[in-house]
Subunit: 331 residues, 2 copies
C-alpha cells in the first residue's frame, strides 16, 4: 500500500549509541555515545535499554525545545517482549502513546503511522522512536552472550542505540513524501543466523511495489537503503531484485547493517541488526547528508524478521516484512 | 489526543470464541465457537491461537465477500511475544500489515490507526484484528495451567477468541466518530493478579480526557464500556472517576470482562481479560445492539497492562494504558 504526503516534515532527530557503534564509521554523527559498558549505570541489560530510550526521548525534546505537553503523540517499538523498553521508557513521559511491533522494521512503521496522523491533521507533531541493545536482544532471542555460543559469518550483531525523530506539519528542509506498507513474506527459511536471507525477499517485494506504484525507476533515488540485511543479505537482495523483478539497484544501494560497522575490522560478522541499526544510521549520517545537500532523495527500507523464539522452537520458518519511506530534500 | 472522524464506518465483524466464552452469556452472538478443546486440531496452544486468528480473518473476508487484494491494510496485535499470533496468521494473507502492541488495549489502538488511514484517504478499507488464547497466555505470562497455581479472586481469566472488524470509507449504519489515544499511567501497583487495579487509573484518565476534549458529559453515551477491568477494577474505576475527576459514570457503564462471562457461575474469578475479551464483546453483542438500535452511542475503552514478565521479575511496577473509540449509529 503506497501513499504520498504533502505536509510531513522531519524537525529534528536524536541518537544515542553504545560502544561498538562508537568504534564504527558513523561515530562522529551520533549525538551521544555511552561507552563505559553496556549497563549505563543500570542493574540489568533490559533496564539499560529502557534508559537508552528514555534518554533518547529526553534528548529529542531538548533538541527541539519542547515539553511533553507540546508533543501530540509518540509511536515506539523495540525488540523486547511486550515492547517493554518502549512501555517502561515512555511511562516517564506525559505523551499519548501507540506501541508497535514489526521487529527491525519498527522505525519505518512508526514513521508511516506518524506521517498519516500528521497528514490527516490528527496530530501536529509526533515523536517516533525505537531502541535496541546488543546483550538484552541476544539473551532474549538466542543465548546469553556469556555462553560464548559460536555463530556463522552470516549472523548479524544487534546494535545498541536509541533513535528518535520529531515529525511535524511545519515546513523543514526534509520531508516524508511517500511510503509503502509491506506484506509479510515467508520463503521458508529457518536459519536464525541468516536474517539477511530471511528478509531480502520482503525488502525486494516492498521496493518493487513502491517503485511500481509511484511509476519510478530505482535511479529516482540518490540512495536506496535497507535496514539490516548485512553483507550476505545485501547481495541476495541485489540479485533477487534483478532476477525476479528485473530491477537493478546496484548503483545506488546500501544497507545500514554494513554502514554502521566496519564489517572487515569489527567483530560483528555480517553487520548490524536490530531496529536501532537502521534508525541510528538514518537519524545520524543519512539525514546529515540530506541536510547538507549531498543526498536529495532517499528511499529508507528497514527490514524486520517477524519470528518468535517460541515458534522457531516449534519448527516454524521465519516470516519477514519491510516498509519503505521516501525522504526528500525540499526544493 | 482526541480526534474526530467523518468518513469511517464499520462494514462488518467476525468473531470466533472458545469453550468458556461459549458457556458465557454472549455465546449466541459469536459467529463461531470452537468447543471441542483448546487445541483446535493444532499441536500447541500457540499454534491454536494462530489458527484462531487466521480463521477469524478468513471469516471477515468471507462475510464481506472480499479477496485479499480487495483489502488495503491489516492492523493486528496480540499477547504473544513478538505478536507471533498476528505475524504467523497474517503471513497467510497477501495484505499489507502493520503490527501493534498495547496488550489488551490492542483493538482500540488498531481501530484508531485504521480510522486515521481511512479518514486521510490513505486506505479505503482496513481489517483490524486481535486474538488471545487462555492457556498460551497463562503459559507465557504466569505459569502453565497444569501447575494448578491458585489465584486470588481479583485475578482475571484470559478469553480465548479472535475478533476482526472491517473498517471502510463507505457509509454503513455504524460509524467511528471520535477517538482518544491514552497515555501510559503507572500508579506503582505490582500485583499481577489484580490487573483491574493496575488499569483503572489509565481508563479513568482516558475517559476524562475524551469527555473533556469533546466537551461531553458521560450521559452523551448510552454506554461506556471498558475492556477487562473485571468485577473489582470496575468498582475502582467508578469510584476513582467520581473522586478524582468528579465524573459519575455509574448509570451507563459496564466492563467487557464482566459481560463476556457469568462471573458468579463460571470459574473465571473477577472476569475476562486479554485483547479478545473486549474485541469479542464489541464485535458480537455491542454492535448487534447498535445495529438493532437499542444502543446508539457507545464509548469503547479497552484497557491494557503494559507489563512484561521480565520487568516484573526485576521488581518493576505495572504500567497501563487505555484508548477510547466513540461509535455511533448514523442518524
Amino acid at each position: 500500500m503506497t501513499n504520498t504526503y504533502k505536509n510531513v516534515y522531519i524537525e529534528n532527530t536524536a541518537t544515542i549509541a553504545g560502544i561498538y557503534e562508537h568504534e564504527g564509521p558513523l561515530a562522529k554523527y551520533f549525538d551521544k555515545t555511552y561507552t563505559k559498558d553496556l549497563y549505563f549505570g543500570e542493574k540489568s541489560w533490559e533496564k539499560a535499554e529502557i534508559k537508552l530510550l528514555k534518554d533518547t526521548i529526553s534528548l529529542i525534546l531538548d533538541k527541539t525545545n519542547k515539553k511533553d505537553s507540546d508533543v501530540n503523540l509518540i509511536i515506539s517499538g523495540d525488540l523486547q517482549n511486550q515492547i517493554a523498553s518502549s512501555d517502561y521508557a515512555i511511562r516517564e513521559f506525559d505523551i499519548p502513546f501507540l506501541g508497535i511491533y514489526n521487529a527491525c522494521a519498527t522505525s519505518s512503521e512508526a514513521m508511516i503511522i506518524g506521517a498519516t496522523f500528521i497528514e490527516n491533521k490528527s496530530a501536529k507533531n509526533c515523536i517516533v522512536s525505537t531502541v535496541s541493545h546488543n546483550t538484552s536482544a541476544e539473551k532474549q532471542y538466542r543465548n546469553p552472550t556469556e555462553y560464548g555460543t559460536p555463530k556463522p559469518e552470516t549472523a548479524t550483531f544487534t546494535t545498541t542505540g536509541g533513535a528518535a525523530l520529531l515529525l511535524t506539519n511545519k515546513r523543514t528542509k526534509i520531508s516524508i513524501t511517500a511510503s509503502t506498507v509491506g506484506k509479510i513474506i515467508d520463503k521458508g527459511v529457518k536459519d536464525v543466523n541468516h536474517m539477511g536471507a530471511v528478509m531480502a525477499p520482503a525488502a525486494a517485494d516492498t521496493i518493487y511495489k513502491h517503485l511500481k506504484d509511484l511509476d519510478r525507476n530505482p535511479d529516482y533515488y540518490d540512495l536506496i537503503i535497507t535496514g539490516d540485511l548485512g553483507e550476505y543479505g545485501k547481495k541476495i537482495l541485489v540479485n533477487y531484485l534483478k532476477k525476479v523483478y528485473k530491477l537493478d539497484i546496484s548503483k545506488n544501494y546500501d544497507d545500514c547493517g554494513t554502514m554502521i560497522y566496519n564489517t572487515k575490522k569489527q567483530a560483528v560478522l555480517a553487520g548490524g541488526s536490530g531496529p536501532s541499526c537502521s534508525a541510528l544510521t538514518l537519524c545520524s549520517y543519512i539525514l546529515k547528508e540530506m541536510q547538507e545537500g549531498r543526498l536529495k532523495k532517499v528511499l529508507y527500507v528497514p527490514t524486520g524478521a517477524l519470528f518468535s523464539p517460541t515458534m522457531y522452537f516449534q519448527k516454524e520458518s521465519l516470516p519477514a516484512i519491510a516498509h519503505a519511506v521516501s525522504l526528500e530534500v525540499a526544493e
